[in-house]
Symmetry: C2
Amino acid sequence: MRPTVTDVARKAGVSPSTVSRALGGGIVSETTKAAVLAAASALGYTPNRAARALIGGRTDNIGLLVPDIANPFFTEIVKSVSAHVRRSEYQLLLGSSDEDTAREREMAQALQRTCDGVIACSPRMSDEEVCANADARTTVIVNRLIDGMSCVTADPTSGMEQAVQHLAALGHKHIAYVKGPAGSWSEQRRVEGLKLAQQLGMEVELIQSVTPTYNSGTLAADLVLMSKASAVIAFNDLLAIGILNRLEARGVDVPNDISLIGNDDIDMASMCRPQLTTIASPKEQMGALAAELLPRLLQSGGAEPEQIVLPATLVVRGSTAVARV
Amino acid sequence: MRPTVTDVARKAGVSPSTVSRALGGGIVSETTKAAVLAAASALGYTPNRAARALIGGRTDNIGLLVPDIANPFFTEIVKSVSAHVRRSEYQLLLGSSDEDTAREREMAQALQRTCDGVIACSPRMSDEEVCANADARTTVIVNRLIDGMSCVTADPTSGMEQAVQHLAALGHKHIAYVKGPAGSWSEQRRVEGLKLAQQLGMEVELIQSVTPTYNSGTLAADLVLMSKASAVIAFNDLLAIGILNRLEARGVDVPNDISLIGNDDIDMASMCRPQLTTIASPKEQMGALAAELLPRLLQSGGAEPEQIVLPATLVVRGSTAVARV
DNA sequence: GTGAAAGCGCTAACAA
DNA sequence: TTGTTAGCGCTTTCAC
């Protein structure tokens, strides 16, 4: 049986409440505090989280909700959050909704119930749904901006504009964009960034994708070829790599025949050949900031939502080249 | 304030314990049960997990411990476990030890404390340490076999033997093996499988790697070249892809100059060119089985540890070819 | 500065 | 079949 406060109290010759105070930063004399600490560590005492949780607030859990844990973009955020959480008293509850909005809603509520706070990553729900299903005082949104909520995100529009400008500078006149999930905020902001292409007099073609995955990319590649675009931007790197491989399989050379730009800069983007030109999101930093912001938010009782927008930066590698004349 | 059993009881006109029984599968009359259920759903009642946990056993949490969440091999297992857990009453606590044995030990203990059971994936600790830090009655080990504990794993030795045989059939006489983490059970079992190569009269070279990652692979590639081996097997696909890219960068053609075999069959293995010949582990299935086995183990009070060994299968793709004469 | 007592929400004895 | 009672481990009044 695990030792309890009572055990520690007996061993230290004090009452349970004194133990609680000694361990929890209450007002205790130095001598008794030392005695309690000694007794606690002698017994190998660790507080029972359930009992703590029952009393009032804290469960000391934080929830992390992502659309797809197997998507490297989210995996890297999970890794970063997890590394930061580990250094605190919190434990991490993971929820992966598999890109299913209904499931996302359920999981958001479930996590909310069991956790002090939750970090919701790229929620696919609409703004209204997010607001309805997430308490602004206890949740931090990552990779999306919603009024009145704490958010950490990169700026997708600016990233896209950098990509468009890069392609324009290379002489491309006709580009295609392979779209991401409809409910995705980044998706909407990226499409926004495409307006620059129109302003620059480029022709822009929108191509649907089923899911933001490698397989979807291989499908999209054929649509890209049909479009006669000389350059493609994809919603994310996974799609881009799918496109890349299918294009090469059809004998189309990247970047000489078609230029290709991804989004996110996942590890894989620099592991493929040609290496992928991509719009890098500071995933590590987003995870870290979210993990720091959440406790601050909880501390303040959710009083002041903060919004942090980080820059996205185009990383030019081997998949983009001058357009053919 | 969230509704409690008392609220539901009042609304249904019964006592709290009746509510508890009605909701928890106790003996209740049909009529009162219906009344309680109606009251509960009218109030939007959900049980307080902390209170339940406090009473006795269940926290309804299960813990999942992996060495590195960003390693696609583990990510896919996490995804599979997560999908299965979602359908149960359990919630998933994630711990990633970043390949650090001390951290792994701590996290194993922490998860044990907060969870009904834990799934420990490829623990890097020694057998003795695992036994010391994990309760056999509440933990399932994945990707490793330990006496007296519940385990789900693929057979690394047989996989390696298939790879060796494949290379032998292609006429390779001198092969290199790029090693994985020293504490890894799979690593030890894979080295075991290499004995077959010696029996077949092949020369075998062992090459150290720092971590089982892409970067380590690029380092290892140069050592491979130094070794004069005509074929390489790597501890995992990540290493293999690192090796692949570095070899190509040095003007060495895979598979014509050097054949290359990975391990795990992560998604990336079929996204690179040439596609990677690799020893596939049934990751999805391992996660699923572990997620099914754990509740069964807990149910039985940890009475009967089960051990499940799944076959690993060599998937021949484009990175292996006939040895040059 | 410290102890005694109450109670968080729930379930498991024990009565009825 | 149902209600009453007690208690899980902890913190937090309230006395002292």
